[in-house]
C-alpha cells in the first residue's frame, strides 16, 4: 500500500500562528478593558443588587483563569478521546477504521501540553476556580468554616488533587506514547506482532481510562460546584468529551480529504463516522436527561440548586445557553444526521461536526461558569481570545503530529479490510 504523507505548509502553520496571535491580541484587549472597568455594566448591575450582591465582582484574573481552565479541560478531553478511540478500535478488532486511525492517534499529541497547562493554571489560579482550595473552609474556628466541604477533605485536598492530576496525565501520556510507538514501528517493520501487542496495551488503557476519565471529571469539573454532587457526572463529562472527540476526528477526515489526502477513504467510512456522531449525540442527551430529570423531579434543594442556578439564577443569565446547549447538541445533529445520505455527504457532516464542537465547548462553559464567574460571566474578548489561542496551539500540535507518520498505516493487518469497507 502506498504511503501518504501529510505536508503542513508554511502557509498552514502561519494560519495557526495567526490564530494564536489574534487570540492573544483579543485577550490583551479584553483584559485591559476589564481591568480598566470599561463598559462598567457589571458595576451598575451590582449596585442595583445592593446588599444582595455581597460577592465582589469577578476580576479579570479570575475570568482569565476560568477560561484557561475551561479550554484546557475541553481540548485535553478531545486529545484523550483520540487515544481512547484508537484503543476501542483495537480491542474491538475493528477493521473499518484502519484508514482513519492516524487521525485520532495524532490527537493525543496535545496531552503533554494539556497536562502542563492544567498544572500551571491549577497552581496559579486554583483559588479562583475551586472554592474548596481555601484553607479557611477547614478551620473550625473560622466563621467561614464549612462542615460539608470539610467532610470531603480526605478526597478534595490540595496534595491529593495535585497527585491525581499528575497521575492521570502520566498514565494517559504513557499509553498514548506506547500505542503510537507500536503503530509507527508497525509501519516500518510490518508483521502482526505490533498489532497483537497494541490490543493488549489498548485493553489495559481502557481499564485505566474507565477509572481516570470519571475521576478527572469529578476533579476538574464537578468539584467546581463544591457542595453539589452527581453520580452521573463522570459519564456526563465523558459523553461530552467523546462526542466532541468523534466530531473532531470526523471533521479532520473531511478537511484532509477535501485537501486531497486520504484518497482511499470513501463515503462508507464517513457513514460510520457520521453514525458515531449521531449516536453519541443521542447518548449525551440521554445522560444529560438522566441527570436533569431525577434532580428536577426530586426537587431537593441541595441537589436542584445546580439547575436552578442555570435556569433562573443570576436573572436568567444562563437560561439561553441552557437551551442552546440542548438544541445544538441534540436537536440539530439528531434531525440533520438522521438520513443515510446526510451521513455520507461531507457538507452535512462538516456542518454538524462544527456545531457539535462548538456546542460541547458551550456545554463545558455551562458546567464551569455559573459556579465561578456567577453573574459576571460573559462572551467577550477574553472568552474568544482564550479559545482562539487554545485552538491554534491544539491545531498546530495536532497537524505536526499528523505529519510525523504516513496517514495510511501501511502495514496494519486490517488495512485491506478497511479499503474495501462497505456499508
Amino acid at each position: 500500500m502506498t504511503e501518504e504523507r501529510l505536508i503542513i505548509s508554511r502557509k498552514t502553520n502561519n494560519k495557526f500562528f495567526l490564530m494564536i496571535a489574534i487570540g492573544v491580541v483579543l485577550l490583551i484587549v479584553g483584559i485591559i478593558a476589564m481591568a480598566m472597568g470599561w463598559g462598567g455594566e457589571h458595576h451598575a448591575v451590582d449596585a442595583a443588587h445592593g446588599e444582595a450582591a455581597a460577592h465582589e465582582p469577578a476580576t479579570w484574573v479570575k475570568r482569565l483563569y476560568v477560561n484557561l481552565w475551561l479550554n484546557n479541560v475541553y481540548f485535553s478531553g478531545i486529545a484523550l478521546i483520540g487515544v481512547f478511540f484508537v484503543a476501542v478500535q483495537y480491542v474491538a478488532y475493528a477493521g473499518w477504521s484502519v484508514l482513519i486511525k492516524r487521525i485520532p492517534e495524532a490527537l493525543g499529541y496535545y496531552l503533554p501540553i494539556g497536562g502542563a497547562v492544567m498544572l500551571i493554571v491549577f497552581l496559579l489560579g486554583g483559588h479562583d476556580i475551586f472554592h474548596w482550595t481555601h484553607d479557611y473552609l477547614y478551620d473550625v474556628n473560622d466563621p467561614r468554616f464549612d462542615p460539608i466541604i470539610n467532610g470531603k477533605k480526605p478526597y478534595l485536598n490540595f496534595a491529593f488533587f495535585l497527585i491525581r492530576m499528575v497521575v492521570y496525565f502520566a498514565l494517559w501520556i504513557l499509553f498514548f506514547n506506547w500505542l503510537r510507538r507500536n503503530s509507527i514501528a508497525e509501519d516500518l517493520q510490518g508483521g502482526t506482532n505490533y498489532y497483537h501487542k497494541s490490543i493488549r496495551i489498548s485493553a489495559m488503557f481502557l481499564v485505566v481510562f474507565g477509572v481516570t476519565s470519571s475521576m478527572s471529571a469529578w476533579d476538574w469539573v464537578l468539584s467546581i460546584d463544591t457542595h453539589w454532587f452527581s453520580t452521573m457526572f463522570g459519564w456526563y463529562v465523558f459523553a461530552s468529551w467523546w462526542v466532541s472527540g468523534l466530531a473532531a476526528i470526523t471533521l479532520t477526515v473531511i478537511i484532509l480529504k477535501q485537501n486531497g489526502y486520504l484518497k482511499m477513504v470513501n463515503a462508507n467510512h464517513l457513514h460510520d463516522l457520521g453514525k458515531f456522531c449521531f449516536a453519541f449525540s443521542i447518548f449525551w442527551t440521554y445522560i444529560w436527561f438522566s441527570q436533569f430529570m431525577l434532580y428536577w423531579y426530586a426537587n431537593i434543594p441541595e441537589e436542584v440548586i445546580y439547575f436552578t442556578e442555570r435556569l433562573s439564577g443570576y436573572d436568567g443569565k444562563y437560561l439561553g445557553i441552557f437551551f442552546a446547549n440542548l438544541v445544538i447538541n441534540f436537536a440539530f445533529p439528531f434531525l440533520v444526521l438522521m438520513t443515510r445520505d446526510a451521513k455520507r455527504q461531507m457538507i452535512m457532516l462538516k456542518l454538524v461536526t462544527i456545531a457539535i464542537l462548538f456546542g460541547h465547548w458551550l456545554d463545558f462553559y455551562l458546567m464551569m461558569m455559573p459556579a465561578t464567574m456567577r453573574g459576571d460571566a460573559g462572551f467577550g474578548f477574553i472568552e474568544v481570545g482564550t479559545a482562539l489561542v487554545f485552538l491554534g496551539v491544539f491545531l498546530f500540535t495536532f497537524a505536526k503530529g499528523l505529519s510525523k507518520a504516513s496517514l495510511v498505516p501501511v502495514n496494519h493487518p486490517f488495512l485491506e479490510e478497511s479499503i474495501h469497507h462497505h456499508v
Binding site: F289, F292, M293, W296, Y297, N299, M338, T339, R340, H422
Partner: protein, 174 residues
C-alpha cells in the same frame, strides 16, 4: 399455475456478482438470486433500489412522539389534572420517558407491519425453494422462462460463459 425457471448455480461470490452484471447487461431479467449469506454489493448489481422503509419509520416515530405528548398533556393537563410532587399539571420533563418509549414502539411496530404489507408476507405464504444448496454453499440465480419468448439454449450459454457450474430447469408452483 406453474412457472418455469432456469437456475444458474454458482459457487463463487465474485463470479456471481460479475455474472449478474453481464446477464443483466445482456437484457435478461433476473427473477431472484439466492445466497446462503448476505453478499456485499449485490443490491447494486441487481439494481435493487434502497428501501423507503426508513422514511415510513420516521413518520411512525413522529406519530408516536405526537401521540404520546398529546395523550399526556390532555390527560394530565385537561381531562383529569392532578398535583403530583408539587409540579405543574403539564410537566414536560416527566413526559419525556413515556414519549421516548412510544416513539420507539410506534416506529418499530409501524416498520414491521409496513414491511409485511409491502412484501405481502403472511403466515400462509409459500416460498418455493429453488435449490436446497442455496442454504449451504451455492448461489442460485433464478430466471423466469416465458414460453415462446425465452431462448433456452442462448440462456444456457449466457449463464455457462459467465461461470455457472450448473444450469438447471425447475417448475415451481406459484
Amino acid at each position: 399455475m406453474n412457472k418455469k425457471f432456469v437456475l444458474g448455480i454458482y459457487d463463487d461470490e465474485d463470479v456471481l456478482l460479475t455474472a449478474i452484471e453481464n446477464v443483466r447487461a445482456a437484457g435478461t431479467k433476473i427473477y431472484e438470486v439466492f445466497s446462503p449469506y448476505p453478499v456485499h454489493g449485490i443490491d447494486d448489481v441487481l439494481g435493487i433500489k434502497r428501501s423507503r422503509l426508513p422514511i415510513a419509520a420516521f413518520f411512525f416515530g413522529l406519530f408516536g412522539t405526537s401521540f404520546a405528548l398529546w395523550m399526556q398533556i390532555w390527560m394530565l393537563g385537561f381531562d383529569w389534572p392532578m398535583i403530583i410532587g408539587g409540579k405543574p399539571h403539564i410537566a414536560l420533563p416527566s413526559f419525556i420517558p413515556v414519549t421516548f418509549e412510544l416513539t420507539v414502539l410506534c416506529a418499530a411496530h409501524g416498520m414491521v407491519i409496513t414491511f409485511f404489507i409491502v412484501t405481502k408476507l403472511k403466515p400462509s405464504t409459500k416460498v418455493p425453494v429453488f435449490d436446497k444448496r442455496s442454504t449451504d454453499d451455492k448461489f442460485v440465480m433464478a430466471i423466469e422462462v416465458k414460453d415462446g419468448v425465452t431462448d433456452l439454449a442462448a440462456l444456457n450459454d449466457l449463464l455457462r460463459t459467465n461461470g455457472a457450474i450448473e444450469v438447471n430447469q425447475k417448475e415451481v408452483l406459484k
